[in-house]
């Protein structure tokens, strides 16, 4: 299928693809309504949140480097960074790979929140990711994600699940729905791949799926399943079309992260009603060979974020978008014996956008010479969330997070 049918007649006449659905077992009313419904006028001024997950636990001390602190170099005889540091102030510098981020920092388009963590930190990837994504205390368990609770509270959801023209509430890139999105009510969530061809009407994988989806299901659960799958497929087609036709106004590197963000930019440019996007970059679990690996990862992060921001600027969408990173934990202050670092606690995170206040926020971590000691967080990550919710998404953070956290003034 080359184009989405725009009218009911086109829908029915369509020679292949979804056109045939008009004659299949799916309730005709659903088709007629979906095909005739006007695309709702997008609300142009909606604020949008983009989350970048740095999976594996990014080493904070080699991201924002306390280069005047001898203890840093004592704890890290081989990993301590000295050359090419990108100064943020008299004591702190960004990793040499973060040139683009450094420029954004100097332009006031990035706030760096220092030493973000939570009480009684957990060092398991699984559990600590869960804590970050559900915004729970270290010793309480919650299924719903912090953004899922935001959807429950503040997004109308998909009361009319039949309306296939409704945009997804949230979109993620990757093969798994982030736990941050899990909610009590049902919302339309959509996942996309970070790359792939887009003349997908001819992609045999999708043609195959589409073909089977058109099989006759007269009644019962099969028809209900088919219906739900159709809705998702229609969204998929629309998203693909938007992405395929998108002209980026900055040059994105070929990395997975950059390509993911390019797709997000395309959807934002198309005025989708989607409020939240989630992309992920993995590989930060640097138990060994950290110097090389983290340099590559941070370089990918820096160039991707910068290309994304430039693109938004050029499309005049920058006022609408806030981009934020997070990682499940930082790493130990002392290096290990394999040229790496083990799981730790607090770490800095980046918040990017035209509307951010810029600068370094929160207190720097306090290093101690004891190699066994870990960093004590100074900013609770839920304070970061509360600012995002209250100030950016205009929601009620205490309602969503269960209590009030000290906000972080990046917006």
């Amino acid at each position: 299928m080359q184009n989405l049918p725009l009218t009911r007649r086109e829908f029915i006449r369509g020679a292949g693809g979804l056109g045939f659905l008009a004659f299949s077992g799916v309730a005709p009313a659903f088709l007629a309504r979906s095909a005739m419904a006007q695309t709702p006028a997008p609300e142009r001024d909606r604020s949008i949140l983009v989350i970048i997950q740095l999976a594996g636990g990014n080493d904070g001390l080699n991201t924002v480097i306390p280069f005047t602190d001898d203890r840093y170099y004592n704890l890290r005889p081989t990993l301590g960074l000295k050359n090419g540091l990108l100064h943020l102030n008299d004591d702190l510098a960004l990793h040499p790979s973060c040139k683009d981020l450094h420029k954004l920092y100097n332009d006031g388009k990035i706030s760096i929140v220092q030493n973000v963590g939570y009480p009684n930190p957990n060092r398991s990837h699984f559990r600590s990711t869960e804590i970050w994504e559900t915004a729970s205390d270290a010793d309480t368990f919650q299924r719903e994600g912090w953004l899922g609770r935001y959807f429950d509270n503040d997004c109308a959801g998909n009361p009319e699940a039949d309306n296939i023209n409704a945009d997804p509430t949230a979109i993620h890139v990757g093969d798994m729905i982030p736990q941050s999105y899990l909610s009590e009510k049902s919302h339309s969530l959509f996942g996309m791949k970070h790359r792939g061809r887009f003349d997908r009407g001819n992609d045999p994988a999708d043609l195959a799926y589409e073909k089977l989806l058109q099989a006759d299901h007269i009644e019962g659960n099969a028809s209900y399943l088919q219906h739900t799958m159709m809705n998702t497929l229609v969204t998929e087609r629309r998203v693909e079309k938007i992405i395929a036709n998108y002209k980026a106004l900055s040059s994105y590197p070929g990395t997975k992260l950059a390509q993911s963000l390019k797709r997000v930019a395309a959807l934002i440019h198309a005025d989708m009603e989607t409020r939240v996007y989630f992309v992920s970059q993995s590989g930060y679990d640097t138990h060994a060979n950290q110097l090389r690996n983290q340099a590559r990862l941070l370089s990918e992060l820096s160039t991707a974020m910068s290309a994304f921001q430039k693109d938004l600027n050029a499309h005049k969408k920058d006022d609408q978008v806030l981009t934020m990173t997070f990682s499940e934990f930082g790493r130990r202050p002392a290096e290990n014996g394999s040229g790496g670092t083990d799981h730790g606690t607090a770490a800095p995170l980046f918040v990017m956008g035209s509307k951010v206040n810029g600068g370094l926020l929160g207190k720097s971590p306090e290093l101690v010479s004891d190699v066994k000691k870990d960093l004590e967080y100074s900013t609770d990550f839920r304070g970061v969330y509360s600012s995002v919710l209250d100030k950016w998404l205009e929601a009620d953070s205490s309602n969503i997070l269960g209590k009030q956290f000290e906000p972080v003034p990046f917006v």
């Binding site: 699984f126 998909n158 699940a161 736990q179 049902s186 994988a205 195959a208 590989g283």
Partner: protein, 502 residues
Amino acid sequence: MSQSSPTPQNFAIEDAWKPLPGGFWRIEEAQHFLRRVGFSASPEAVTSALRGSPKAYLQQAFRPDSGMQRSDALKEFTANIHQRYQHIYREVEDEEEKRKLRQEIQREENELFRGFAMDWFYYARQPQQSAREKFVVFLQDIFVVEQNKVRDTELLFSLQQTLREGTTNSYPELCKKISREPAMVRYLDLLQNTARKPNENFARELFELFTLGEGNYTETDIKEAARAFTGYRIKKRREFYQEQRLHDDSKKTIFGETGKWNGDDVVDITFRQPAAKTFLIRELIKFYLTEEVVPEPYIQALGEQWAEHNFSLSYLIETFFQSRLFFHPAYRGNMVKSPLHFYIGLCQDLRIDIAPFEARVLRSMATMGQSFYNPPNVRGWLYGEHWINSTTISARRQLVDYIFAKLDEENLNANEQRDLEAAREAGRGNFLVTQERLQQVLSLAADDLATHLTTYFITAPSRATYRNALQSILGNTQDEGAAKRVRYAIIALLQSPAYNLC
């Protein structure tokens, strides 16, 4: 659902629960049976089942055995935990140090739980265990506890093991045993239930969720029953005992019977109520047969038989799963697979292992809506179409995509690399479908392959239309590019509405 549902007019009540006549035990029936009793109906399983009878299959599947084994890590943790806590509370003075030690225990506890979850998936994935494990899941959805609240792997394991062994017990006996399971004692606040301050939580759920159902008891029955369950205690974090000082030994009147009842007496009295004869059967029907309303006379009839057999679960299992009603064509092919069923069934259908990455498996289960041992609330999961919404459907599709994708070994974190190595050593490294494996089916012509795939993977109602669609997707299987098309065709089939049903 080509055939209309049975009614006492067209399908005699006295025949409904008789075993399926031998002549009707055919491929279709065996597939229905295997997918409903377990998770998958592979051609080998069908052939093997057809050599015997449903009865023989059930006897084998529910044979008494030692069940699932605790991991060494869990045994060791459990052996020491009481001492470790004693150490913390009696010997450590520094508050900060106490906190750290408790936190360390909690961390180990979480790790053990995830290990237990994975062990269970591996265990239930073995075809010879599947039927009973599915029944355990059924019972877990009756005797609900949430890991989030209990947070003790040993107790959760123990409860599950009791349910597993309970399949050879009578249902009242199982109820009594469950009332003594520390996980349940904690979950439904029996610890807070004392003669001076009764707590009704357990008594209410005993009536409402375990035995009778709403509307079949009064608030007074609950209040009186709660007093009978007073004094249930746990010592050394693990061991159940009854504390006479906390027990209310006075007279209670429950369902009109007056006496100095204790908890076990309440269970016995409960099973003299008419509603107890049919409650579990209704649940069984919902879980295994249909979301439709099954005419009441059928349910009453089985209820009477079951009561006559002293509520024996083996009797119920054998009667229900080989009955003519269970095999009625109206009840075939229209049940939405639960996420557990979907994943384990997928692994069995494709003859692959459970992926060795706990974060992936457990989160994928959560996204599909069925987080291991963590139902949304005391009522358990709502089955059927409740599993399906845009999020869970995407999660199911993504799971299939993952199984057919290449493993991105570069980007695994250290834990995952370790788990991958361990799985390969244990012979469980085959958890994705490789292109080489798909190559093997190319010896078949497209029409034969389409027939094979639809017979293998989906139920009868959708076969004809799917077969044609698949055949056209497959094209010439000797062509260049055929291997790819086979892959797409199978992925599409596994993501289709029909594959989500059984």
